[in-house]
Symmetry: C2
Subunit: 409 residues, 2 copies
């Protein structure tokens, strides 16, 4: 294997600087194509150039730093845009890892690496826009019609927003064919590693999602004058469904399956009126298609059963399914060996419960992800944080794996 | 007993006319002190005057029709204001009964009766304003400070609204001492009589109310990245509480006890976020204080237990208790005898689950209520309705009871 001498302190220094671009308190506001987003991308482009990489910005605003020559190389990165007010590491840490890896390799004559910051991973325009277009999941024309979800009363289109791509650096196009594989380092955004006191997670798959929107319709009535036995109370229907669903799911799930009833709207939602309607969502996430489909079917069957027992009318709307995305076994293996090398016994293989640019890139390139712990699992929040030593350990593991993978495909 | 020859057709004709004042589709919009409310009260005042009654409007806009002379008499009535958009009978039917009874007695030389339409029973200013002041539950100064709850962005005070009282008829004051008792005929506003095919309900008590506002606070987390065992899901807490509460209450309740979880607000209420907080109300209504208090205590104990089991923080706020109001036994008995006379086997004794002006008047006068069936139990809705023959039967029963009670106290 090739050893790549990364400098963790330099990566931390980059992150500390980037934190000031769009910084708000402990958080960062760098919405895709906002002034701070463009400024951060320009600063990254400058660092790439200084490291001897060629900067290319594609029509979506995805920023690439490419090593000299046309030879195939590993692509490392993530995204540098944030939620409207996000944390200081979500996305940008993966880009900083890619930058440090490519810079170290250039400086020391190591194997070439490319770095990327995809645009609008956080969905200002409704999805992981930059990587969706780059991987052909979405045409540029379709993306151009997408509206700014932050300002739905006076939205601009993606077409208008991406005019600013030219402010970042030289425009061009970059084909996925140029790369041997993609590795995305990212904070976990969940509590698993932190609560176990572990330093690293090697992602086995990005989970798939099944979702239902259910509506129980009963009858709104005066809470004083309507006897219990004559009620058709939609919120009682929800409560009973929610408790029973846990029992139905218990024998079907793995330790890592999650399901969430995250949203409920009750009508008319007044202290003295028996609830006439309850609309709620059931979301199921797992890495196995067969489990997802069985659980989605069971959730629907139970909703019909509860509605029928309680004289409620059920409306059921199935959300668009998101399929699980398995990570590339060879890349996973390299990351696992690297993790055991730099943090023996303090890493695990785990699914990613959140979507990432890697979900898209896996369609066109062998892809893997490396997680660093999120303190308390806090995510999409200014309080998001990761211990600096954990960020350094993860960079070392990435460099170790990249060294193992370099010159092989 | 004295027989009072009421004319049900004349009462129906009054109701048909009153329905046009503020009529909207099948419903009526006669908010306290609105133009249609003032117009309806003026029309009622005219009918009272034509029937030989003296019209007095008190400072709150309560409209009285008093028989000649100073002798004690029975007071019959209810209210003629409505919800923002209510039904054609809620309140006004009781006033029409009182008018017809007083009118018939005047015309035929029967015993004297007085009629009343209390103001703002439907709480534009937050409570049963007119009868609260008339019975001394609320001072006029306190009432004057109450704000219009229909227009909280630019509210007027009750003091401003009641300047219109003078447009109804001659201002004056009327002491409760003038009356021997109060009977309020009212539609049931619930489905009990209608679903049993019965024509009349004699109210035994107006139920009391206990209410809790609970808030379960857990932790909002990403629904993809947070394992089930590390969640503190506030909405799961609510669902489990709601189901368990039914089990806890089962051995404590009577057939007529009701409890309602009518309102829930979840934060942040998003499909992909584990609910961080759930605020909801528990309302209990029953005619017995001991049962109300035991159920309220059990509801609180269970909330603490569920919160503790699930690592949630509980905030509990007790609502102002409303005490049950028993109806006067002598008046009840007269109504029961009358009900059995005009509708043998087709009436029942029952609690009132809703508040009424009678709740206030019972503090100062022997008080009773007579219910007519509400079709399908529909209330506070333009579709509220009662069969015309049921309205007539109830008027006959009222007249029968009033004849039995006249000249006694």
């Amino acid at each position: 294997m090739t050893r790549i001498h990364v400098d963790p302190a330099r990566m931390l220094s980059d992150l500390d600087h980037l934190r000031t671009i769009g910084g708000q308190g402990t958080g960062v506001a760098r919405r895709a194509f906002s002034d701070p987003d463009i400024a951060a991308r320009k600063w990254l482009a400058d660092q790439m150039q200084a490291a001897g990489l060629e900067v290319i910005v594609d029509p979506c605003g995805n920023l690439f730093g490419l090593p000299p020559g046309d030879g195939p190389c590993l692509l490392v990165g993530s995204h540098s845009d944030t939620q409207p007010l996000g944390g200081w590491l979500d996305g940008i840490w993966g880009v900083a890892c890619g930058l440090e890896l490519a810079r170290a390799a250039q400086a020391n004559g190591g194997p070439p690496f490319a770095v990327v910051s995809f645009q609008d991973e956080e969905g200002r325009f409704g999805r992981l826009t930059g990587s969706s277009v780059w991987t052909g999941q979405l045409s540029l024309a379709e993306a151009d019609a997408c509206l700014d979800e932050d300002a739905l009363d006076d939205p601009i289109t993606f077409a208008t927003a991406r005019e600013r791509a030219k402010d970042i650096g030289p425009l061009g196009s970059v084909s996925p064919d140029r790369f041997t594989a993609y590795i995305e380092p990212h904070i976990e955004q969940g509590p698993v590693l932190d609560s176990a006191g572990e330093a690293l997670g090697v992602v086995g798959a990005i989970v798939g999602v099944r979702q239902w929107s259910f509506r129980f319709e009963g009858e709104a009535n005066h809470a004083g004058t309507t006897p219990m036995q004559l009620r058709r109370d939609a919120l009682q229907g929800f409560a009973s469904y929610s408790v029973a669903l846990n029992e139905v799911f218990a024998p079907m799930v793995s330790e890592r399956t999650v399901w969430t009833l995250g949203r409920i709207v009750v009508e008319p939602n007044a202290n003295s009126i028996v609830p006439g309607a309850a609309s709620f969502t059931v979301q199921i996430r797992d890495a196995e298609v067969s489990r997802l489909d069985a659980m989605a079917a069971a959730a629907h069957t139970l909703a019909r059963q509860v509605a029928s027992e309680r004289g409620l009318i059920l409306q059921a709307t199935r959300g668009s399914p998101v399929e699980p995305v398995p990570m590339d076994p060879r890349l996973q293996h390299a990351l696992e060996v690297a993790a055991e090398t730099v943090a023996p016994g303090r890493w695990r293989s785990m699914p990613s419960g959140a979507l990432h640019d890697a979900s898209n890139v896996a369609r066109v390139l062998p892809t893997a992800m490396l997680f660093a712990p999120s303190i308390g699992g806090i995510s999409h929040n200014p309080n998001e944080d990761t211990r600096r030593e954990d960020l350094c350990v993860a960079l070392e593991a990435l460099a170790d794996a990249a060294g193992r993978l370099a010159n092989t495909r």
